[in-house]
Amino acid sequence: MAKKNDLLPGTLDMLILKTLNRAPLHGYGIALSIKRLSEDVLTVEEGSLYPALQRLLVQGWVKAEWKQTETNRRARYYTLTALGRKQLGLELTEFERMITAIGRVLQDA
């Protein structure tokens, strides 16, 4: 099995929140969405995805409910909460700051 591209540490929560900000999704959907949007660069490992989702649930940033999919299967859909939206804002700002900082360092070098 080929080694997949690892996510930048600490970015998984933000990616999930951002993905859910567009529309409620189930776990598989989130993984798929991130993969597609990143054009296969970012692969969310299931081993990290589900613990992360539980973490977000506990924090109250997302909520979950069981719904029917288009193919009529039961799936657990995650929706961003108001708290989660605020958190996403915070994380994006922080991320921008980091990226800018890293960018500056790389430019100078």
């Binding site: 099995m1 189930h26 776990g27 598989y28 993984a31 798929l32 490992e45 299931e46 081993g47 589900y50 613990p51 539980q54 973490r55 649930l57 506990v58 924090q59 109250g60 069981w66 299967r73 039961r74 799936a75 657990r76 708290l83």
Partner: protein, 881 residues
């Protein structure tokens, strides 16, 4: 804020744990199904797609685990580990029981001994700020902590600038009238500030006021708590009541607190003031008091000692007759009180620690072997998704469970052990150590056990974790992975077993030396025949018998009456029986010998004519006293052989005269006989010059009766007391005992006995654990080497050489262990030389015996696995692996 929300959410999930699991399960199944569908859509066969999806999904168990961790509490994992650990231990009950019991043994022994150490050395004396209290004594080379004389005490009190207060106390006894006749009870006379200096306030009533010690003041008494309870029914209205002590009325002014004790006079019932100076206290040269002082703030013991020495020096110049050669001694009161049992407690604590060490090493070996044998299981677990921290947690939990069980059993054992040990001490020994009374498992002990448990838990958790094959999963799973790891373990185990054997040698050697000391002590030459001697102490009231003529008739009457009792062979009276103390001394000088002001000091006893015959002490020269050596004759004296040897080297002492330091004519006495060196002091103290006056020339109304009996001496004791009470019910009798029992219960014997017994017990356990440890290592080694042995035998090795192979391995370990242990033993024995009596630290016999015992035991233990090795069937061994 969000932390709080998180907490409550987790709490909610805890309640709906089942639902959480099934939801996660379903979610994951859905995920896999979707992934599978997509793979099929990409053109895979359904079967390949399923496998790929699974592989992509990763380890579902670990995923579930980490999801649970996110929503779960830490304690849930711990509980789970705990359940698992219990299940594991239940699966190998032999291992669990052995480990827990061995640990309990070590912890139990250590905690029990610590209880004594705590009570005697750590827990402060029951006085306020006890570290500022000192004992104050006069000093001479033969008597380093000697009594103060009353007048010296008054001068010291006046002249010193180092003590906040200096008080004096003296031993005393009273005759207390009881329905059963007069009973002698121990008491203490104190100067009035005694309790204020100690910082003790009476539980009931008041303390002595300043000036209450002076002769004119009314006679008052403080009761000890036990006396108040036992003799006065614990009634609060006891204060103000009157009590008659030795025919004098005293007013009870208070009761001392329950926790108060004063070890130098452990059993004291009545505390009175010094009041009237007694005969001795009127003479500066007569020493009968002890000093207790509280240091001024900022004054150290050394400063106080220097100051006391300066005063003593000045008194030497001022009163050369009485004070020449009288120095000073000041030492912490705790040192004065518990100094004598510190060495034995230190040795016992050392012994218990070594035992605990062996126990820990033993259990570590067990835990390590177990970890070794579980390698494959651990590898399998990590393959199935157990994370490293989780595995470590499980080992740690197992260690903690073992230690907890061991500690619990150990605490029970310690509580029982402490009870048993206090019973091992005689009543007399316990009375002189009141701080040991009521000793039981207290918070200090439990805290100590907690510390030991914590250390053990850390050890037993870390040991297997260090050996966990976590890095190379594949190796653990592979069949061949065992050999190399087994060898590492063998080296480690071998080192551990050497440490165990060496420790066992140290304990065995110490026990051997202590046992030999105890034997030597009990068989020390006492220079009289201690069998078949019964004794009783007699105190007659001074009011009735104080006059010399009346005392004399009492003395003769007692001898006459007791001699007629059936079974009595002979009767003798003495002011102090043998084997008690080198106390009650007198200063003497030999007429016609040069004298430079030295204080020759010798125990002095008044004895009746039958005394030496009763003791069966040999007469060396001259004659013994006769019935006619009374006041009508010139004053006579008998001396012991040591005095004769020291002062009359090569001369005949018979007919020579000795007297007091100024050789005053009325003090001169003619030597009529030299008696053998009857051991007057404790078994382990030196024989000193001794002086015996004829009792009929200076009659006493207080003495000890010594009776030689034909039958068992215990049986005659009631008859002795009854016969004395027939003379007068007002005569007090006490200490009815036999010479054998007195020796047996003496503090010296008690200390040596408990040292020998306890360290002996530790040593036996250590030997057992050490040998079991050796057996374990050798047996493990044999089981690991089965194939090798099979190959050797297939190639023609004889059974004898296989035996040799295994026994050589064991022999090496034992040899190194013994050698190391013997070296350490020398060190240990030097450290405890204070407890050795007539036995050198390098006693070759003991050390050789110990080495022999251990060698034989070790060979026996390794013989069993060696036989198993020799019984290996080569064909089977080769096929097995």
């Amino acid at each position: 804020m969000s932390g709080m929300i998180g907490f409550f959410r987790r709490l909610g999930m805890l309640v709906r744990r089942g639902r959480f699991r099934s939801e996660l399960e379903e979610e994951m199944a859905f995920h896999r199904a979707e992934a599978e569908k997509e793979l099929i859509a990409e053109g895979m066969t359904p079967k390949a797609a399923r496998i790929a999806a699974r592989r992509q999904f990763g380890n579902p168990l670990r995923l579930k685990e980490s999801s649970s961790e996110v929503i779960g509490f830490r304690f849930e994992a711990i509980l789970q580990d705990l359940r698992f650990a219990l299940r594991q231990l239940r699966k190998s009950p032999g291992f669990a029981a052995t480990a827990a019991l061995v640990l309990a043994l070590g912890i139990g022994a250590s905690v029990a001994i610590f209880g004594f150490v705590d009570a005697a050395l750590i827990k402060p004396l029951p006085y306020s700020d006890p570290t500022r209290l000192v004992g104050v004594y006069e000093y001479t080379p033969v008597c380093p902590q000697c009594n103060l004389s009353y007048e010296d005490y008054l001068d010291w009190k006046k002249q010193n600038h180092v003590f906040q207060s200096l008080e004096a106390w003296g031993m005393n006894g009273y005759l207390l009238p009881t329905p059963a006749g007069a009973e002698p009870v121990p008491g203490v006379r104190v100067s009035d500030g005694f309790f204020r200096t100690l910082g003790v306030t009476p539980l009931l009533g008041r303390d002595f006021y300043a000036g209450e010690s002076s002769p004119g003041a009314p006679r008052t008494v403080l009761l000890s708590y036990a006396t108040w309870q036992q003799r006065f029914g614990g009634q609060p209205n006891v204060v103000g009541q009157s009590v008659t002590l030795s025919s004098l009325p005293y007013t009870i002014i208070g009761v001392l607190p329950r926790e108060f004790h004063f070890a130098p006079r452990g059993r004291a019932e009545f505390w009175t003031t010094l009041h009237d100076p007694n005969g001795c206290e009127k003479k500066r040269g007569c020493h009968n008091l002890f000093g207790v002082a509280r240091l001024k703030d900022g004054v150290s013991v050394a400063t106080a000692l220097a100051a006391a020495k300066a005063i003593a020096q000045q008194l030497e110049l001022q009163y050369p007759d009485s004070n020449r050669g009288q120095g000073a001694s000041v030492l912490p009161l705790s040192e004065a009180i518990v100094g004598n049992i510190r060495p034995i407690l230190q040795v016992l604590l050392g012994g218990a620690t070594l035992l605990l060490l062996i126990a820990c090493v033993n259990v570590s070996s067990l835990v390590l072997v177990r970890a070794e044998n579980r390698k494959r299981e651990i590898a399998l677990r990590s393959a199935l998704g157990a994370s490293r921290p989780r595995l470590m947690g499980q080992f740690a939990t197992e260690g903690v469970v073992l230690v907890a069980a061991g500690t619990a059993i150990g605490l029970v054992a310690a509580a029982t052990g402490m009870q048993a040990l206090t019973h091992l001490l005689s009543k007399a020994a316990l009375e002189s150590m009141p701080y040991l009374q009521g000793l039981k498992l207290n918070l200090h002990c439990i805290a100590f056990a907690g510390i030991l448990a914590l250390l053990a838990a850390i050890l037993f958790s870390i040991a297997p974790i260090l050996r966990l094959p976590l890095t190379a999963l594949g190796e653990g799973m592979a069949e061949g992975g065992r050999g190399s790891a087994g060898r590492t373990w063998r080296n480690l185990g071998a080192n551990l077993v050497i440490a165990e054997l060496a420790t066992a040698v140290v304990l065995l050697a110490s026990a051997g030396l202590l046992a030999k000391s105890f034997y030597r002590l009990l068989h020390v030459d006492v220079n009289f025949n201690p069998d078949h001697l019964a004794m009783v102490t007699v105190e007659a009231p001074d009011e009735t018998y104080g006059k010399p003529a009346l005392s004399l008739s009492l003395d003769r009457e007692v001898v006459a009456r007791l001699s007629q009792l059936p079974g009595v062979v002979s009767v003798g009276l003495s002011t102090d029986p043998p084997l008690t103390c080198n106390c009650d001394t007198t200063w003497f000088r030999v007429l016609g010998k040069p004298w430079n002001g030295e204080h020759y000091d010798a125990p002095q006893r008044d004895v009746t004519p039958g005394y030496f015959k009763t003791l069966q002490a040999g007469l060396v020269r001259g004659r013994s006293y006769t019935e006619t050596d009374d006041l009508a004759k010139p004053p006579y004296v008998m001396i012991n052989q040591t005095l004769a040897r020291q002062f009359f080297r090569g001369e005949d002492p018979i007919g020579r005269k000795i007297g007091d330091l100024s050789l005053s004519p009325e003090s001169l006495r003619q030597i009529v006989g030299v008696v053998d060196d009857i051991r007057e002091g404790a078994l382990d103290s030196d024989i000193r010059p001794a002086i015996y006056y004829p009792m009929y020339q200076g009659p006493d109304d207080g003495f000890t009766v010594v009776v030689r009996t034909a039958q068992a001496p215990e049986s005659i004791l009631p008859a002795l007391t009854a016969a004395i009470h027939q003379i007068d019910r007002g005569i007090g009798t006490s200490n009815e005992t036999t010479m054998a029992a007195q020796v047996d219960s003496s503090p010296t014997a008690a200390i040596h006995r408990s040292a020998a017994y306890l360290v002996g017990g530790f040593a036996v356990l250590a030997l057992l654990l050490g040998v079991v440890g050796l057996y374990g290592v050798i047996a493990y080694s044999v089981s690991q080497r089965t194939r090798e042995i099979g190959v050797r035998m297939a190639l023609g090795a004889q059974r004898g050489s296989v035996y040799g192979l295994i026994l050589r391995e064991a022999g090496w370990l034992t040899g190194i262990g013994i050698a190391l242990g013997l070296v350490c033993s020398l060190g240990a024995a030097t450290l405890m030389r204070k407890l050795l009596f007539g036995t050198a630290a390098w006693d070759v016999g003991t050390l050789a015996g110990v080495a022999g015992v251990l060698a034989v035991a070790a060979m026996l233990a390794s013989f069993i696995p060696a036989r198993r090795a020799a019984g290996v069937d080569p064909a089977e061994a080769l096929r097995a692996e």
